[in-house]
């Protein structure tokens, strides 16, 4: 394993998580969340959880994002916080 890469990914994960919950535009937040899920999936694959990683990439980053975007498009993009 490449430790530096892992560290970098973890730091990136936290940044994405914080960004996802602070973005004022919900579409942006949702896309950031998708990115977060993808990074998470990569970490899992790297931790030998190949099946879980792929599921997360498909379900967490894929389906969930679609659901979020559908919900946001039927409500409003703007968030107060």
């Amino acid at each position: 394993m490449i430790w530096e890469l892992n560290y970098a990914m973890f730091v990136f994960l936290i940044i994405l998580a914080i960004a996802a919950i602070t973005a004022r535009d919900l579409i942006v937040a949702v896309v950031i969340l998708a990115g977060y899920s993808l990074i998470m999936a990569v970490i899992w694959v790297e931790m030998n959880a190949v099946d879980v990683g792929f599921t997360e990439a498909a379900v967490g980053a894929g389906i969930t994002t679609v659901l979020f975007i559908a919900a946001v498009s039927r409500t409003t993009r703007r968030s107060k916080d």
Partner: protein
């Protein structure tokens, strides 16, 4: 020797990560008034727990639990948590879907997705 120390540090590092991500998730759930933000927080919270499971299943020096012909000396990581996590991911998506559906209906009824703007809702 030194390698295993780093390994265990890495494992601890994973746990620190789990805690940080969980806290971020819980913070969003509690502090955000936007209903979609709360669900995003819930997602982060849930993936943090999954991360915990995957980390604990990751045996030192192990390899993915895929059986290879003839290779009998391979150390596989524990496959049970992985199967459990597949279930947990599906459960998480269901929760998200229900939550978002509720959010949409709240918007249709109240015209807002901010909890503090919904009239007549006390703590």
């Amino acid at each position: 020797m030194i390698e295993s120390l780093i390994e265990s540090l890495l494992l601890r590092y994973n746990y620190v990560m789990v805690v940080v991500l969980m806290l971020i998730g819980i913070y969003a759930i509690i502090a955000k008034s936007n209903l979609i933000k709360k669900i995003i927080g819930l997602n982060i919270f849930q993936t943090a727990i999954l991360l915990f499971y995957i980390s604990m299943a990751d045996v030192v020096g192990g390899t993915a639990p895929i059986i290879e012909e003839g290779a009998t000396d391979l150390v596989y990581v524990n496959p049970l948590p992985h199967t459990l996590m597949l279930t947990a991911i599906v459960v998480g998506v269901c929760t998200t879907a229900v939550g978002l559906a509720l959010t949409v209906r709240i918007y249709e009824n109240y015209g807002t997705i901010h909890e503090d703007e919904i009239p007549g809702v006390e703590a």
